[in-house]
Symmetry: D2
Subunit: 371 residues, 4 copies
Amino acid sequence: MIRVGIVGATGVVGQQFVVALQNHPWFRIAWLAASERSANQSYGEALRDRKTGAVRWFCAEEPSADILAMPVETTSSFDPDRVDLLFTAIESEQARELEPVFARTTPVISTASAFRYEPDVPLVIPGINSHHLALLRHQQRRRGWRGFIAPNPNCTTVGLAITLRPLHERFGVTGVVMTSLQALSGAGRSPGVIGLDILDNVIPFIPGEEEKVQRETQKILGTLEDDGIRPAPFAVSCTCTRVNVSEGHTEAVFVGLSKPASLDEVRDALESFTGDFADRDLPSAPRRMILVRDDPYRPQPRLDRTVDDGMTTVIGRLRVDGVLPNGVKYVLVSHNTKMGAAKGCVLTAEVMVRDGYLGKPVPAAPGRAPA
Amino acid sequence: MIRVGIVGATGVVGQQFVVALQNHPWFRIAWLAASERSANQSYGEALRDRKTGAVRWFCAEEPSADILAMPVETTSSFDPDRVDLLFTAIESEQARELEPVFARTTPVISTASAFRYEPDVPLVIPGINSHHLALLRHQQRRRGWRGFIAPNPNCTTVGLAITLRPLHERFGVTGVVMTSLQALSGAGRSPGVIGLDILDNVIPFIPGEEEKVQRETQKILGTLEDDGIRPAPFAVSCTCTRVNVSEGHTEAVFVGLSKPASLDEVRDALESFTGDFADRDLPSAPRRMILVRDDPYRPQPRLDRTVDDGMTTVIGRLRVDGVLPNGVKYVLVSHNTKMGAAKGCVLTAEVMVRDGYLGKPVPAAPGRAPA
Amino acid sequence: MIRVGIVGATGVVGQQFVVALQNHPWFRIAWLAASERSANQSYGEALRDRKTGAVRWFCAEEPSADILAMPVETTSSFDPDRVDLLFTAIESEQARELEPVFARTTPVISTASAFRYEPDVPLVIPGINSHHLALLRHQQRRRGWRGFIAPNPNCTTVGLAITLRPLHERFGVTGVVMTSLQALSGAGRSPGVIGLDILDNVIPFIPGEEEKVQRETQKILGTLEDDGIRPAPFAVSCTCTRVNVSEGHTEAVFVGLSKPASLDEVRDALESFTGDFADRDLPSAPRRMILVRDDPYRPQPRLDRTVDDGMTTVIGRLRVDGVLPNGVKYVLVSHNTKMGAAKGCVLTAEVMVRDGYLGKPVPAAPGRAPA
Amino acid sequence: MIRVGIVGATGVVGQQFVVALQNHPWFRIAWLAASERSANQSYGEALRDRKTGAVRWFCAEEPSADILAMPVETTSSFDPDRVDLLFTAIESEQARELEPVFARTTPVISTASAFRYEPDVPLVIPGINSHHLALLRHQQRRRGWRGFIAPNPNCTTVGLAITLRPLHERFGVTGVVMTSLQALSGAGRSPGVIGLDILDNVIPFIPGEEEKVQRETQKILGTLEDDGIRPAPFAVSCTCTRVNVSEGHTEAVFVGLSKPASLDEVRDALESFTGDFADRDLPSAPRRMILVRDDPYRPQPRLDRTVDDGMTTVIGRLRVDGVLPNGVKYVLVSHNTKMGAAKGCVLTAEVMVRDGYLGKPVPAAPGRAPA
């Protein structure tokens, strides 16, 4: 088994990592790190609110008794001999400081945006641009690290980039207009979105989100070069809003294409897309990268966010758009805290194992240092 | 006072007409018509649910005691000598049958879509294209009516067309991409949207809505000709969704322009737009047709739908769009059951009075037959 | 396997029966009946909305391909040789007519209230008063039926009666005051609760509900006599409200007891209560009838409705009440469409099999006629 | 005009004081105090979020330009010569420290719970127990203050105590069982209730709330004695829950009475209750203290919280309760941030003016020092 650590283990995303990893066939949770306040307690104790005694656990799936009994440590107790891989679920500022320290010795898969835009850092959605992981070798050489930093993209980027990939490949994308209706869970719990603000309401602004989506989509669908990624040559324009939905981002997408394509051809491109691990048997991979629905009332976040445990992007309402050149439009739902966050990172780790960036557990002996 | 009738007076939109008219300085409610089931009762009685005794009144403003005591009649009791103007709040199929009968003698302002797309029927948003009312003369001649049919546009079209008008006038619009987040009240109550379907959810489809918005926007911003309207020469592409908001449609709009325009120029065009009744003192007109907010978190439907009693379209998040030619983007909130429905129709009626399409009550004697 | 039929199979409760039965180890769905409109189609076709093509499926669990391919028939095609047991999910008026016809030959477990209050009809919550099933013999003799009618209680009664049972048994209950905060799913979808009515709101009235809870609780906890049930000798007073929750009824309960009891004793009575099938291995039985939580913020419907797939009643906030004699108070959450409806009925059927009211499938040969 | 200061002016309750006072005929806002962070700015500037520039204003009514231009000071700049009365909207701990300092010279009406339970402190709901204000004289003598501290009750207590008062007076109350369904605004915004926690949910616990309601109700309906209040001799037992409603607490109340009373008599007692300022013309007083509705679906918080600008308690569903002695039950809706908070305090201040506890502005000269 590959020994993994979770940094920021008591927060919402940290908890999602626990859920995605606790019964994993290849990975074993070996280290839980959190802030001073949580340290020197068991994980179960650290989840308790001091004032009220309430357990602050936010996932539908329960943590196992083993995990609850594990000690929580501070990041200063980090020991590279005890873990083969780190998942980080911390704020961007903290990530900027801590992740390079970890990466000297240890691979880091990060949910923070701190390093997403650096030239030697790939921004990988598993199944979409796994080959960008090759940039990690350049990163290691350039920075003199034995480990590396591999961030995941913003949760709103994920569903968009997944659905654009087959369209770009088959027809060429020339421009993208997108409006998102994002779930509350994307804002976290510190305090995230206040109930009074979102009841009977829409909040039309999420700071920094639109810029992230625009930039990240171009990087993810860009071309791998020796020392970086050449961004995909199409513009992306978004309006990101928050709606009163717990989980599952909905996005209304309008895409211009390089050449005329019938809706049947577009649909075929989307449905037949298998991702770049099609023939591989990864534990967290969805059966289908993209599911296209015919029911005009779908996708709906409450009904479609759970397809393949939130790892499938569900599309519906595929139609012609009359404004963009050779335009098509559709609606997608993507689970922002599954494929869009912790479980997506775990799937990336699985791709890394298969592609030799991490110790191969099957069938070879586990725990090998990253190549 | 001009004597008005409300057809479909007990329904949601009919109630909104009662609210918009009951204290009106120019109009007096003289006739309430509804289905057989409600007829031969007072309005107050007709609002009661037979089974439960509950009053089915859906507006925030209460109906006056006078209105509650008025008799409700069926449409078969229609007498052109008793009313000078009709507001209709009925289904499209019924409108197709009844409105031409009424229009033989009496002006009809309709909330139904039945006649919106006929060549001799103007589709007017007061303040935006009031001059299209001139087409009513052609309609009267062509159909041999003393009255006319003047429908209002779909509630989702209204906010969009209002904001596009100054942009089209100043810079020329070349294309529009719009995603709406529409309120529940737009779906009515028969049964409208079921609570179970919209809780923690988005519904990405509203039958017929997108086609209406696309077609109506072009007609409203089109050019008046002798016998019809030449549609505005730009395409409109929409995705219309339903969100868990009671009142107030939110729209994320992306607009391509004919020539480069700075955000300051665009903002100035929007803010300085006074509508075509700028210098007129109409009772239901908003102080401002368009209000532009600087706060990036605005407009929000719950906070902005009530500006000027729902008659102002509120814009925010004005930004450059990088996909459409000379593109700009913004978010708007428009009150779908005020400017977007009954009270918008009443404002249209006020414009008609001022422009001589209806008996002038001030200062001339009221009750004059429509010209 | 025991062959079961579902009457009203396309409705919400019918769908819940499909989910509860489709992988059942003892029961096999052999007949699906619905209204004329659905008949002569496959179940999959019958679920489609004719106008929109949308599939009207409301459960989180998907129906199997086998079920989707089954034909839907009308109730007039009922053939007692094809089914050993019927589950009915129809309106009360229809139940009053149809169920006696079925019961001449076939056992009927009903979700309708039509027969709940008849003296020779037991009102059983499995685990709570299964011994009341003995009244079915009297019913059969009296009515000359080979089958019987066994209705389930109202969904709001279920959680209350389950938690009162161990208190009544151990301490004696003298009076109960209860306020419910009920979920939308209890109101069904025809149209159930309209979104506009419940958003940012509470509806303080559910017709008939309070009377049902009061009467049914006394019957369920009453004493079995030869020809009926003597009601439990304590009063129940309720206020039933609707809140904006999809599934899971929350109830604030205040109970007077016959003798003083410490909170520890009360808690012990609740926690140690195993139900009357404690030592039996029924497929749909929960691991625990009642779960008592310490976290003062629990139970919450969203978090606790799914414990043991909605078959466990979750209690929290156990405290002393100072108004009722020897009073205690607590909050419970009960899944209104699992234990409170279809799956509760399936558990009743399992109890019937074990107790000899229905053909025993294990280990004896399946399909035996009801005793 | 009486010069008033608002302490905690930038918070939610402080904003509600601004709304309740800015157009008041007797009171003039003369001093705005807030934390160091807000000081030395105009009120308008202090409302802006530093990071986002968004205006943090939470009331439906807008602040006037005059108020927005007023300077915000810290409490250390307090000068008794500049204000005749203080309204405080601060946390309980801060109130415990600051309010006695203010009260040495100046009357203080407080929304904090810090002093509510002290023997020489009256707990007044205007219209219900205004005569308890006489205790302020004892408080002043005992503490050697020229001013005083008069706290308002908890918002959940207010509607309950208002409706119990006429019942206690006419029939005698022997015990009260109450379950509240409380609005989000009661929890404030720091951060109050997180959207993710309340969507599709009920939270069954509000720390300290039940104890407050129980204790305060007894004090408010208690008997004034020379040096304190003898609590009313009946027990109150509550369960307080939070539901997804923005404003307006709903309470399901069960009341035992000392003697039999028909529902007509109970209804008459409630409806005819005019409060103890019936014949007085106070600017913030509601037309009716209590409104009883016949519609069984009322009161609903969204529809009934705004009756008389939130100053009227609306009752419905009046029925017999079979558990408590001579029991009746009903549902009430009370606006928790109007009568239940700032505007209720302003009404208390108006009562104080009329009863001589504060400088009489009409017709006498304003600004008189408190007696």
